[in-house]
Amino acid sequence: MNDWIERQRHLLDFTLTSLARRKTKNIGLLVVFALLVFVLASVSLYTQALRSEAVRVLEQSPEIVVQRLVAGRHDLIPPDYLEGIGRLRGVRSIETRLWGYYYDPVLKANYTLMVPRTRTIEQGEIVVGPALEHTRGLGTNTGISLRAYSGELHTFLVTDVLPHETELMSADLVLMNEGDFRRFFNFPDGHYTDIVLSVANPREVRNIGLKLMEMLPDARPILREEVLRTYNSIYAWREGLLLALLSASILAFGILAWEKSTGLSADERREIGILKAIGWETGDVIRMKFWEGFVIAFSAFLFGYVLAYVHVFYLRFFLFEPVLKGWAVLYPRFALTPQIDAMQLITLFIFTVVPYVAAVLVPIWRAATTDPDTVMRS
C-alpha cells in the first residue's frame, strides 16, 4: 500500500513540475474553471436557500384567499359575498383583507398599503416596512405626506418600523388604520380587497375551493398549496433561466477544455514519447495525465465553491443582484440561511470535475497506447 501511495506521489510530483512548465496557460485554465464553478455554485446555493426560506414562511400564509373577478380583472368583494361564504360547511373562520398598491412619485417605487387585523393602528399613524426606512429615510416619529388618488394630500406619522429580520416579507409594507385606508383610496364601505378563509379540516381545502366556485362563479379561490407551488416553480424557472444564460459560457469552457485536451501539443506528444522510450508504462502515462486533469478540476471545484459560499451568504449575492432587482427601487436586504445538501454538491462535482478529467484522459489514452517512435515523429 505504501509503495502504491509513494508511486502516486512521485507521479503527482512529476505532473506538477510538468504543469509548472506551462504555468501561464494552466493558471489561466484554473482561474476560468474556478469562475465557472463559482457562478454555477452561486446560482445553486442562492436559489436553494431562497426557495426553502420562502416556502417555510409561506406555510403560514392563508389556507384560502378568495378574490372576485370582473371581466377577467381583480375586483372588490361586495358585502353579500361574505354572507354566502359564511354558510359553507367546513369553513372555520372568515376574515377580510384590505390592501392595495400606492405608487410614490418621490421615490418612483410601489408600496403595499395594508390594514392589519391583529394590530391596532391609530388614525393618522402608519407602520412601515424596513425598506422604506433605508430607502425613503422614514424612521419612528417621522412624518410623510402621500397624495391620494383623489389628489388630496394625506399626512401620516410613522410610529414603528417592522423588524429588519422580516424584510423578505415586509420590505415595502405600509400598515395603516382602516378609516385612513378607506379615505385614502376612496374605498367604498363594506367592500374589501379579498377574503381569507381558514378551514377546519386541512383535507377539505380543495373541496371548499370547488364549492366556492360553484356557489360564486365569479370568485377565484387561491389555495395555500398553489402559492407554495408557484414559488417552487418561480425559483426553478429562475434557476433554469440563469443556467440557460450561463450555458453559453459553459459551452465555451467545454470547447476550451476539449481543445486543450484533444489537441495535444507537439511538446506533450514528445513528452509522452520520451517517457515511453525511457521505460514508462502506458498505465503510468495515463495515471500521470489523470492527475494533471484532476489537480486542475478538483482545485477549481474547491476554490469556486468556497468563493460562491462567501459571495451568496456574506456578500449578499451582489454580482447578480442587478439581474434580480430589475427596475425595482425598493429591494429587501435580507440575509439568507444556507441550505446545503449533499446531492447539490455531488451534482456540481459530477457536472464540473468528471467531464474535464474524462476529456483529458481520452486523447492521452490514444497517444499513450501508440508506439513511442511514431508518437515522437508525428
Binding site: G209, I234, W237, V323
Partner: protein, 102 residues
Amino acid sequence: MLRRPSSRLFTIWIIALVAMTASFVDAWRLARTNDAAIERTAELVEQLRLTDPVLFTEARYTRHPTQADLHSAFQSHPLALEHFPSGTLIPPTIRGAYERLD
C-alpha cells in the same frame, strides 16, 4: 517536507477542504442563528395574512405573483409585450399551479 510539489499541493487542498468544511459548519450555525428570525417572519406572515415575498416591486403583478390575475402582464393591450425586467424571471403562466381549480 514542503520541498516536494505534491506536499505543497496537499497543503493547498487541505486548506481549501478545511474552508469547505467550515462552510458546512457555518451553514449549520447560520441556520440556528437565523431560526428565530425565520420564525418571526412566519409569525408576521400569519398575523398579516401575507402571501408573497417582496422580491420584485417594480410592477403589481410581479410584487404578488400568486395574487395577480394571469393576464395582468397584458393589461395595456392584448398584444402588449412584457417589458419589466423581472417579467423575464417569472414564468409567463405558472404551469400546474392553477390547473385543478381554474
